[in-house]
């Protein structure tokens, strides 16, 4: 009889807690979004599965000795996984459109207002009972507005590791929702005529320019913002491997095999943070809400900046490309292209939108560096 009782007590059924069941359902929800809705499946699938694994009673996946525990502490707590992914993103990024039209950097810069404005929102939420965000927490939440997964995970793991799960879920969910969130804001802030603006063709960019660019960015970061060098440095390394043309094998590995392997572990590691006690609270709702606000403000600031540039610049800028300033490469640029085509079927904005899009990646890395330097 004792053995039978012992056997029963070792089953999942005897040990389930309500919170674990709910979190497993959240994990299933993430799997549904990834598989059925194709929402950022590369990350949401391992993340959802990680959430299920970490909430299995008795198995102890996220306790000392458990697989997810080690994955988290080896790769996310140390910041290694997001940085490796950033290197891969650098190897995939073509700065040609940005170098050809450098003023689009201003659009990438203004879209970062979403990040800093959300800081206010996070602090304001402290007025609600049950929510208590410190300035570090608020900074980690605000970076969702940068629409850059690795940057958000990197900063959250440094400033507010206990909020990492909710921040990563919010960041990737909203990045997947860019085609739904952005168009209404873009249309509300622009006139039909503005959306029809056709932009001048971009000049060709030489190979030497593309090689010197990442080195120049790195040098500037070393001089002015060393706290951003982990992110910017890895990004520039990946980009230099791509543009130099002499290490195609390394470039190909970092943008394919390496980034894929790391994404599996990153997803599982973030999923391990989706435990009931860390996720099922009012703060998570606050984070999800603030994430949407951050995205919307970032989009609006980019569009408004483009309109402002139109007033002073000789060459016309289609304000829609301003929305691509919120990183989310290349989804945001595609959205700008699509909304532009709706207004003018002959107007292809994709290449023009790639400029602010990659500027947004640099901008959010710089913003993360500033938050790390001032709050971390």
């Amino acid at each position: 009889m004792d053995s039978l009782t012992k056997l029963w007590l070792s089953t999942g059924l005897a040990n389930f807690e309500l919170g674990q069941v709910i979190m497993m359902l959240v994990g299933c929800g993430l799997l549904y979004l990834a598989i059925a809705r194709n929402f950022e499946p590369l990350l949401l699938l391992p993340m959802g599965f990680g959430a299920i694994l970490t909430n299995i009673p008795v198995a102890g996946f996220s306790e000392v000795g458990g697989l997810l525990h080690y994955i988290y502490y080896a790769g996310i707590d140390t910041g290694i996984f997001p940085l490796i992914i950033f290197m891969g993103v650098g190897a995939m990024t073509d700065f040609g459109a940005l170098i050809a039209n450098p003023k689009t950097l201003l659009l990438g810069a203004s879209a970062q207002f979403g990040i800093f404005a959300t800081l206010f929102g996070a602090i304001a939420l402290n007025g609600i009972p049950g929510i208590e965000f410190s300035l570090k927490d608020a900074s980690a939440i605000a970076i969702i507005g940068g629409a850059d997964g690795p940057t958000a995970i990197f900063l959250a793991s440094k400033l507010a590791p206990e909020l990492l799960g909710a921040i990563a879920v919010a960041a990737y969910s909203y990045m997947a929702l860019v085609p739904i969130i952005q168009p209404p804001i873009m249309k509300a802030l622009t006139t039909e005529d503005e959306r029809k603006i056709e932009m001048a063709q971009l000049r060709p960019v030489t190979k030497v320019e593309k090689i010197i660019f990442p080195l120049g960015v790195l040098l500037m970061t070393i001089f002015f913002l060393p706290s951003a060098t982990p992110l910017v440095g890895m990004f520039c390394l990946g980009n230099l491997m791509r543009e130099s043309g002499v290490v195609d094998r390394l470039s190909s590995t970092s943008q394919n095999e390496l980034i894929n392997i790391t994404t599996i572990f990153l997803g599982l590691g973030v999923g391990s943070k989706l435990s009931a006690e860390a996720f099922l609270n009012v703060q998570t709702l606050g984070i999800l809400g603030l994430g949407a606000v951050a995205f919307s403000i970032g989009t609006a600031s980019g569009v408004l900046m483009a309109k402002l540039m139109n007033k002073f610049s000789k060459e016309k800028v289609n304000p829609l490309i301003g929305a691509a300033g919120v990183s989310a490469v290349p989804m945001a640029a595609r959205v700008a292209n699509k909304v532009g085509l709706e207004a003018n079927p002959h107007n292809f904005l994709l290449m023009h939108a790639m400029g602010p899009n990659v500027a947004g990646v640099l901008g959010s890395a710089v913003a993360a560096g500033i938050l790390l330097a001032l709050v971390g």
Partner: protein
């Protein structure tokens, strides 16, 4: 309430400092692109790749039905390599 006010002031300072810095940094980058990179582009333009007349004649041959012996050798070589690899795998499984 006092601490919240204090936090708001801190967040405001952070927002101001952050936005000014992001704009300053990316504006410097614009200057870098417009000066250094633009000059480099003029000094070191991309080499013009010569038109490959040889490959085009080879292609024409292929279109007309003649397959070059080099291509035949490459294909048959890779087929025999694949068969060899496959048969050793099969044997090792057994």
């Amino acid at each position: 309430m006092n601490s919240m006010e204090h936090q708001f002031i801190e967040a405001g300072t952070l927002m101001l400092a952050g936005m000014v810095f992001v704009f300053a940094f990316l504006s410097l980058l614009i200057i870098f692109i417009n000066t250094v990179l633009a000059r480099l582009a003029v000094k070191f333009p991309d080499a013009i790749t010569p038109s490959r007349s040889h490959s085009s004649t080879k292609n024409k041959k292929a279109v007309s039905g003649e397959i070059s012996p080099a291509i035949v050798a490459a294909i048959s070589g890779s087929i025999s390599q694949y068969r060899h690899k496959h048969s050793t795998q099969y044997k090792s499984k057994r």
